[in-house]
Symmetry: C2
Subunit: 474 residues, 2 copies
């Protein structure tokens, strides 16, 4: 058994943990990082990057199918080579993972411990049976893993999670995607466009990060033009039958139907990795799911007995499980853990305006806290459709609906939800405007080129502004 | 001869003129609009809209050629149906023109005069031989037309301008594009991707709106991977030979070569339509090209004998010949013309941060006054390449170079030039930041999602910020 003492111990060498390590070191602390699992971050290994690679192949196939609308024809069939598609996904994925591994390798060996970490108390961690680590402060950056509903567990290896998709060597014939969240929608549409028979089924009606009922209803209708998306499906049974899985469900017209699939992809969400690190040995306050409560501004957890020396960052904290947020949180947690260890005052960290993107086509975009965070009677909605929007029509991408929200008292822009072409770019423009506390009037004074998708945004803002000003004059 | 008297007379019913009419009317003036030429704006009829339609078809063909890189194959040849391509271009173009015509038709008949306008004096206009119009103030919104060099004029109907392209019923086999400005580059690359043999030749070395030598050199190299682009070509002779045109030029290695084309497309720029309206009858100060001098803030022209009652807007003024600027200028000119007519004080108009986009692939973007407007020693440059940028690589669109400029004293963002994927969206984000007077540090505090093209912009801003801060500490 090695006995070690450091200023800051960081559990987990993913995106948040690596950032926390660098921030703690930069702040002058001696830091050690502990990694027990597979190296490489969720983002690079099984998240953002490989999914975007699969989507790029799917969009390529889709572009060919749409070409005749422009007068461009293909004499012969489209052959989607599943092995080549997956080969590129894995090859480029490995390259991105390589960058992360190299970042990990750049950390001095003496500051890295391999093994599984468990808390002994608020200041002490055991790593496997080999190391006993005491730290002035600790950062939990253990990430998250896909959640798998118990009802699917007897499907054996025919039940897969998104991680498995990115290790495929070929495309299957059929997949039932359970869970129309961001991952389920992205993978579902991509696989469908790559010729895989896909249905996407959910429970409760939610669709990606959307919570504006108008945008959600529109999104469901648009995706159903391409493939079956039932966000509130009534699955009666899920049965394995040899190499196939039979899903029996009650369809929209109360008709029972049974569909067969090679795989069931469980995409019902991710859960923080906080159950195997013996949090019960600490004095931390936990929520109903066992996740430590914490202050997003300082990344410090809440203890039952005075100020906590433990910080949390990234997916482990279940706050906003997105790479750029994990990186910000890692930086905040690492810096403040160092400050605490060195007896300095904690710093409030920079939190950016919320932004969410789903890389389907059209894309889903959400800026701000979302429709459900707005108080009835205090805001107005401006709307624009992309069905007849000039540039979208030119590109044969004229599907989309955008709602923008503005404060009736201050005229300030509050956020947006959309299914729209180029939503990833519109969301950036809008999130910068939100963080800059711009009014809708000020936004309309900004440049809008021609002909661009942003002109559709302007239409929505003009609509919103007219409502805000009607109210102001009333 | 009809004798009429109005508050405001507007010459030209294009984008600027129609906006001026609406602004003058909204300000309470009696306004009349005079249109002598073809109806429909430059933008809708022969500019932004039809060129983007041709580009959309070209990108569709290009996407098919790139598909094997994703594992998506086409068993058989790509057949570009030139008649179908051009049919869609003309059909959608006519639809956009239709909207403009309907806007024109919505103006009361009594406020519209058809015919060619000539100045009699600062307050009086003759329309053909049928109307004599006296106005308290006048707006010149006569637009622009393509400039055709004299040396090409004996090529007959084999010499074409961009307007002609959009009336084609089929695609030709070969076109020499003279002038690598925005229009020349857009049409040249689009025609090349649609299977037309294209060279783009210029004189003097300029490329689109770019003036940063690094970005320009990179752009020339990238386009030359696809088609011949010689921005400083040495054309010896241009000779018509039956239905073909022979262009003899001295190539880069001093080797004379002769190439044959069906058409020569003159895209050497546009000139304001100010030579046929008898400006000599007014007291306006004209520049060397005969264009009235004016104040962009009020749109008011400058007279040799006191305050001028004449305003100018849109391409006629040769300030920034872009649709959104023409619309702003039309609004400013119309409103101030009305204010002058009604004895009110003129209002400074809103001018937006400069933005320019060329819809090639990669796209060209320019924000702010451009590199040449920056004073040596007062600014730093941050750079990012898109050749290894994550999202660009995923999409197989990993070509591009971005320079961002920042003020060494204030840390403020000053502008950018780029050849980049999604430059149209990056340019919007940057132009909003510029108009908001943001510092580079503030920009880096804004949200950047993952994985997006905007992360390439962040790389450039980080590079710029490190230079600005090195200097601040020095």
């Amino acid at each position: 058994m090695n006995f070690m003492q450091v200023d800051v111990a960081i559990i987990g060498a993913g995106s948040a943990g690596l950032c926390a390590y660098h921030a703690a070191t930069a702040a002058g602390a001696r830091a050690t990082i502990i990694e027990g699992g597979e190296c490489g971050t969720t983002c690079a290994r099984v998240g953002c990057m490989p999914s975007k690679l699969l989507i790029a192949a799917a969009e390529s196939a889709h572009a060919i199918r749409k070409a005749p609308g422009f007068g461009v024809h293909v004499e012969g069939v489209i052959r989607i080579d599943g092995r080549e598609v997956m080969d590129r996904v894995r090859r480029e994925r490995d390259r991105f993972v390589g960058f992360v591994l190299r970042e990990m390798e750049a950390i001095p060996e003496a500051s890295c411990i391999r093994g599984h970490a468990r808390f002994i108390n608020n200041h002490t961690i055991a790593v496997d049976d080999h190391t006993h680590l005491t730290a002035r402060s600790i950062v939990i950056a253990t990430g998250s893993r896909p959640d798998i509903p118990d009802s699917f567990k007897d499907l054996g290896e025919r039940l897969i999670i998104s991680d498995d998709v990115f290790n495929w060597f070929d495309l299957p014939n059929s997949v039932a995607v359970i869970g129309p969240g961001s991952i389920g929608l992205e993978l579902g549409q991509a696989l469908h466009r790559l010729g895989v028979h896909v249905v996407v089924l959910g429970r409760g009606g939610s669709v990606g990060p959307l919570n504006d009922p108008e945008i959600r209803a529109y999104t469901i209708a648009i995706f159903n033009e391409e493939f079956t998306l039932e966000p509130d499906a009534h699955i009666a049974t899920t049965l394995r039958n040899g190499d196939r899985i039979a899903i029996r469900r009650t369809g929209p017209n109360d008709i029972q139907e049974t569909d067969y699939f090679e795989y069931v992809l469980s995409a019902t969400g991710r859960i923080p990795n906080v159950t195997t690190i013996d949090l019960s040995q600490t004095t931390l306050k936990l929520d109903a799911k066992g996740v430590p409560l914490y202050d997003p501004v300082t990344a410090r957890t809440v203890s039952t007995d005075g100020d906590s020396p433990i910080f949390i960052a990234g997916d482990a904290g279940n706050f906003i499980p997105l790479l750029h947020e994990a990186i910000d949180e890692g930086g905040i947690a690492g810096k403040n853990a160092a400050f605490l260890a060195l007896g300095k005052q904690l710093n409030p960290g920079l939190r950016r305006a919320p932004i969410g993107i789903v890389f389907t086509e059209p894309q889903i975009g959400i800026v701000g806290g979302g429709y459900h965070s707005l108080k009835a009677g205090t805001f107005a909605i401006g709307q624009a459709s992309f069905e007849d929007q000039g540039r979208a029509r030119i590109l044969l991408k004229n599907k989309g609906l955008l709602n923008v929200y503005g404060d009736l008292n201050t005229g300030r822009f509050l956020g947006a939800e959309m299914l729209a072409p180029a939503a990833e770019h519109l969301a950036h423009l809008l999130s910068w405007a939100l963080q800059n506390k711009m009014t809708v009037t000020q936004m309309l004074e900004m440049p809008f080129y021609h002909p661009v998708i942003e002109e559709g945004l302007r239409t929505a803002l003009q609509h919103l502004n007219s409502k805000l000003h009607t109210r102001a004059h009333a």
